[in-house]
Symmetry: D4
Subunit: 154 residues, 8 copies
């Protein structure tokens, strides 16, 4: 219960997209340090496991298309269930990868009425303008995301 003079609001936050850098850890650590009432959800971030999960569990494929397809659909079980359950979806983009899955997740979240926070370096502004346009906040660093989460929960 929110007591008089006390305004904590818990949130469920999904950390979508890029699995190659430690941006999730930075956000989670920052939130833990601040003691914020945030529960995090995330995709499977073990990249080789994620790429091979389809054939590893459901059997080998000759064509890469079906190998990828089987894996992507299994990964979507977790991704979609997590987005549905979240209040806020944070999506991180970087220079290095195409990250169409991150943009897909952002669109999926926006259509469900989730609050979107996008994180990317300023050089990507023009390329990401449609995604940014759907976001409640466009940050450049994980640290800014922590500050936003602190502000909206405390």
């Amino acid at each position: 219960m929110l007591n008089a003079g006390e305004g904590m609001m818990d949130l469920i936050v999904y950390l979508a997209g890029e699995v190659h850098s430690d941006w999730r850890d930075q956000i989670i650590a920052g939130v833990e340090d601040a003691g914020l009432p945030v529960e995090f959800l995330a995709p499977v971030t073990d990249h080789p496991a994620s790429d091979n999960v389809g054939v590893s569990i459901l059997g080998a494929e000759d064509r890469d298309f079906w190998k990828d397809h089987k894996g992507a659909r299994i990964n979507a079980i977790r991704t979609r269930a997590a987005i549905e359950r979240s209040d806020v979806v944070v999506v991180k983009f970087g220079e290095k990868y195409r990250q169409w899955n991150a943009a897909f997740d952002a669109g999926y979240a926006a259509a469900l009425g989730k609050q979107l926070i996008v994180v990317h370096p300023p050089e990507l502004t023009h390329a990401l303008k449609e995604v940014d346009g759907a976001a409640q906040a466009v940050a450049e660093t994980p640290e800014q995301v922590v500050r936003i989460l602190a502000y909206v929960t405390v």
Copy 2:
């Protein structure tokens, strides 16, 4: 569980709108005194923090429009997540401010099928008739809101 002869029903109540008077504290204190099973949610009520949050976290702006825009969109992360989660939305209007955000929240809540309680002095009846028309109850004082919450939860 509702036992025979016992009818407590917990509710989640969002206290929308005006951040300049202590009406939220009055409702929360009344509910606490009565021991009602009500969980409250509210926007950030620290007014200067709320006005500056956008530029304070995401960087300065030359134009007031964008300063306000960045702040308003961050505040909406909390507001919308809170309205979505609520059973009841209480919206308080006063003579002093335009409070278009309070009316916006009322419309947002009504479209989601939330139960709306509006609080305002009788002088505002004509100006607020469309908002009142969407409400389940139109009260004049926080104390009446407490009595309504007591009635519908006990």
Copy 3:
């Protein structure tokens, strides 16, 4: 968690409609005796309080229409929040009252995709055929409702 060989499923059940007999107590007592994982919700069942709540909290009215209107809309805060949260809605009809509110609640629940159980004596079959037609089960006694709840939860 459902263990192998164990199939308990908890349910939230709203007991709609008639407030003049003790049918709710019978169902609740039966469910408690059987130890079923059912949480009950119900409208305010104190009839005079329910009729007077509008004017009692929000001020007297000269016309009965507005007295009833103010009361009915406050009662709907609890009723609607409860139906939205339920898995199953049980609606009891009897010979004695018109109970249009019970039929209204049944329609409201059906449109939201809730599972409907209707309870009434066989004499009312023709008059209630449209409501029965929307129900998953049509019982004649509270004891049958308890048995249905036992069956679907155990």
Copy 4:
């Protein structure tokens, strides 16, 4: 297209409930006389056909319960499709019949966010207070409904 200075808005209106009096004809005639852009939908209003449709098409039943059940469910095909497609649902209640189906349709329509107009004599105010409380307008005569439809479409 709405031209400057011209404000016609077409509406789809479902006329729910009582099939024993000519109230639908009165509303339809009034709307036609006024040339309003209203399309009406209605249940099957041939009462004996409506009562017998289940057994007449799908085969006889020994028990009245199933005769009624089969008929009611076929009638619901039209009723539900019509309510889904409507902007406004008008529900008429009279002294003579229990009309639980009318109240059920009102609840169904309310849960779908349809605009509800209820018509009944003033003597029924207390018994219908919950249905009235969900309505945008409570009229006493078909002629008032025509005037409301004229006002909101012209």
Copy 5:
């Protein structure tokens, strides 16, 4: 059908809010001059009729609250049906009136996922920041709205 090289897209646009100036006529005239495939919807803009409609059709009231209430709820029949049917909702704010109904309609439209265009003079930026934050475009003049509609339909 969209032919190769031809990109017209029809839209339904609701013009919400202020009924005291001719801003609707300016937008409609501009759209007609440009021959755009836009269908407009609007509330009843005859102000005295709108204020009196409740008591005029459904009978006099002693208290102003109920006079306003009956009128506001009848007006909402048209307003809500129109917003539900629209692709885009344009809301105009001015200095002169409180226009809580305009802000309510904006919130209602936003929650339904409608595209929002807000029109107001720059002096109102701070007071309208939450409404602007939910809008796809914030214009200062009806002429800018016409240009936006031309751009998104041609």
Copy 6:
């Protein structure tokens, strides 16, 4: 809370369809052995009880059609409430039975946006192609389902 370096995600999983073999026990046992954060829901799997529940609680029927009808509708109370609450629906098909109810549940779950896992022997591929086409994963054994659940939750 998801800690840095820890990725557990709890899921609610409904085990639909076939009640004649022990496939549910195999999945549940596998999940328990692995200590996965999965809560299972299932239909009533006592086959004779399930077939007779309608007449056993609500009274005998002369015609098998109504005996089956009453039972099926009571069983649907649990089935539908369980599917609505689930993140993932697992549906198992075998050679021996027609299992139209399993395919019905799969369609119901797909329309609600639930994640679908189908289990069947390879011989049924052609007959089940439309159901498989809606699934996130098509497994041949309960053990593969356990591995998928382990992957998407750990």
Copy 7:
């Protein structure tokens, strides 16, 4: 417009499932003979085309699983768009085929709140009890479906 004394209601009806017999033609011919205001939608009923469409358009596959998968997913484009647009879904089952796709479509339609009419010989009653339990009408012949459509549209 529904004139006084005239009650035609148009419907969109999807004819799901079995593509091996001429039941669709019988229903369509009956409806045309009766001049009913029914628009029919159906899946692609050219069976070999339907089975091969995936590989025929998108390229050959070595494994039957992917051949079926690609075809089934293309067929679902039409099936799902058609079910979404329908008021009523008719599903026909026969002795000869497993028709899991028909049962899947029935479940999909039921979850979307579509009105369901099931057609099957009486021998299948027990096996289809869950599907029948979700239907507004259970017919044995296409001719009965025509009579139901005549009743609900005239």
Copy 8:
């Protein structure tokens, strides 16, 4: 109406994403040549107009971020209204651009339950696996899309 032996089904198809090549014209021309009952919707495809629309209509900005933001949000008015109205969304990806907006639209469409067709060269399979996994069909050429549309509409 679908006549016996005739199976045309009209569709609304949104052509999302890449505006730098003539793939839309190829699909539209192919559909016109085949006389298919397909209505196309598309974003504004005049690239410079699309980039400048925000500042061109709503006033200049010093920072590129806000120039892009204002333009992207105006473009979204058309994009979102079009996706909402479509049955099928076709999304084309190429090697040359990042096209995060195309992936965003694909996610948005998927969350709304639209049928997704993705077009891309085989080299992009791994990068697009999550988007492909949500699609009903993955084509390599516009001509294949025409063939799919011919198949599902004729």
